[in-house]
Amino acid sequence: MNRIVKKLLSNTTSLIGLILLFVFVIIAVFAPIIAPPLFSDPYQIPRMSWDTEPQPPGFPLSDDMIFIYESMGEPIIRDKAIFGTAQGGYDIFYGLIWGTRTAFRIGIVTVVFSMLIGVILGSIAAYFGGWLDELLMRITDIFLSIPFLVAAMVLTTILGRGLDKVMIALVFFGWMGYARVIRGSILCAKEDVYVMAARALGVKDYSIIVRHLLPNTIFPVMVQASMNIGSMVITAAALSFLGVGAPLGYADWGQMVSFARNWIIGSPGHAGEYWYAVFFPAVFIVLFVLSWNLVGDTLRDIMDPRLRGEL
């Protein structure tokens, strides 16, 4: 474990990944300070005006809004949209800062749950083999044959709008990779004599899987998981972009991109006029996914048995 940490810190690419990740963690943790919420629900993005089209960075809080806040008796903490506003006057900066929390939540929760399902099914299939393996793996194949994004969209639509529904859909169609990876490595590891030796000592099947096999086989799954956190966030953003994700006004990066959908090209004669509406959310998403991929990549290199001695 020490070796892994050392390696992660000494490698430039993984160091960049770790620093980026660290920045995102800081943003998520200090979101209430960086972008103080205006409502009791901090995930609701405040609107700076009622404008339909996006407004450029530095756009001030409109008079209408000042009037509303004053009549509500709320103190006005922020009066400028640093990154501009999206369509409907939604504050991009606020959405992105609080969206970081959403991104972590989506990434980690979906990956942890799909990993759990995958590891349980995969290890049972591999350890017991025979018809059980056949059955579980055919179920996995069926799930794999369904296009992921389409299936997730359909399920989210059925379940209804909301981030939790998105996560359920992502877990439901996202566990197969883990099942396959863990099955492969357990199939290989269970041939080792120590498994037979443990059985010959009278150790229970459950303990053999959990105590003997998983510590020897879980690492490739962890690598895959760390890479998948990024892609889960992208998929969730895609669902939000398509309009089946987070509810309107919820601080979520996909939502921010979705807001920019009609304004990507700009207006006639002014190409890229609303660049900020696309650019800032995109930067956040790209950097977030990149950081996980860099870390995952290095983890994979560390685990590669051919490189093991050198690292």
Partner: protein
């Protein structure tokens, strides 16, 4: 050294274990009988694939699909193990019957310390506190002659040499004072000097624990060293079964005879080592009649048609051959020339 007055620990009767493969049924073990008395060592000898390991795994019911024990009885202290369920078997494995494996490199889990693995058997079978288990592990390591055991129990398998690991494996197997040990080629992957040490150690410990041992090996040198009685297996059946001395000085089965003549000997001036012609028959298509006849120099028309039965032909000397008298005479000649070579 056949001891009728000692208690019978294990009796295997007509054990049949078949593998149900896609290409057909492989009769890996086809009607094996033997028994073991307390404190006694039985050698199971044979070529690779003759069914000796399958016999051992059948006894403790550790065979995986597609292997299945289809017939026979295995009486362990009067109870038929084949009638026991998985839960009852788990209580016997490691506690009353332990296994020692061939590869000390892979039979220890790389992610756990030696101490953890030795105490695992104790933790599975007894309610024992951690410090007590640790203490017992240190004692066991001392018993198997591992130096500085207090330090070794915190080390990982890769920090130990092959011989050390095999000693640790033996310590694991002995953790719960088993009545019966089954050692599946325990010395095969070790070099010769370590082999001798391990065998010596096993002999001492067997005496100390008064445990019985089934020693599975293809190495007649190893078996001569440790076994009281020997069962020679060929193609899933026992072909000769008697005490160790008789196997070496009075072999009655042509296969045993072939094995003996193919051992390199220091006391004889032989240019070319004999070997048994041919290969182990394909288990899916065993020959008719005696299964050894295609490779047997003594084979006759009778051997090709009728399979001999295992019967007692001399005092406590069982053999499965039609022509054991011829083999006996031939073996005598070899022993004679052997002595001649020495005297010259």
């Amino acid at each position: 050294m056949v001891n009728d007055n000692k208690t019978k620990i294990l009796q295997v009767k007509d054990l049949k274990t078949y593998f149900f493969t896609e290409n057909g049924i492989v009769k890996a073990v086809d009607g094996v009988d033997f028994e073991i008395y307390q404190g006694e060592t039985l050698g199971l000898v044979g070529e690779s694939g003759c069914g000796k390991s399958v016999t051992a795994f059948s006894i403790v019911k550790l065979l995986d699909y597609p292997g299945k024990t289809v017939g026979g009885q295995v009486f362990f202290r009067g109870e038929d193990l084949l009638k026991k369920n998985e839960k009852q078997m788990r209580q016997i494995r490691g506690k009353e019957i332990s296994l020692i494996f061939q590869e000390p490199m892979t039979s220890l889990n790389p992610v756990f310390t030696i101490g953890f693995q030795i105490t695992e058997a104790l933790k599975v079978h007894y309610k024992i506190s951690k410090p007590k288990a640790q203490e017992k592990a240190v004692q066991l390591l001392k018993k198997v002659d591992i130096p500085i055991p207090e330090q070794r129990i915190n080390e990982y398998p890769h920090q130990l040499s092959g011989g050390m690991r095999q000693r640790a494996m033996i310590a694991m197997a002995l953790a719960c004072d088993p009545v019966l040990l089954i050692a599946d080629e325990p010395t095969t992957s070790l070099d010769v000097t370590i082999q001798a040490q391990i065998l010596e150690l096993m002999k001492t410990l067997l005496k100390e624990f008064n445990s019985s041992l089934i020693m599975i090996t293809h190495d007649l040198g190893v078996i001569a060293e440790i076994a009281d009685r020997i069962a020679v297996m060929y193609a899933g059946k026992i072909v000769e079964y008697t005490d160790t001395r008789s196997i070496f000085y009075n072999p009655l089965h042509p296969y045993t005879y072939g094995l003996l003549t193919s051992i390199p000997r220091l006391d004889m001036d032989i240019e070319k080592l004999d070997s048994i012609p041919g290969l182990v028959p394909d288990p899916l298509h065993f020959p008719e009649g005696c299964k050894f006849h295609p490779r047997c120099p003594f084979a006759t028309a009778k051997c090709r048609k009728e399979e001999p039965v295992l019967k007692e032909v001399e005092n406590k000397h069982l053999v499965r051959c039609w022509h054991f008298e011829k083999v006996k005479e031939e073996a005598k000649k070899i022993a004679f020339t052997g002595r001649l070579a020495v005297s010259e």
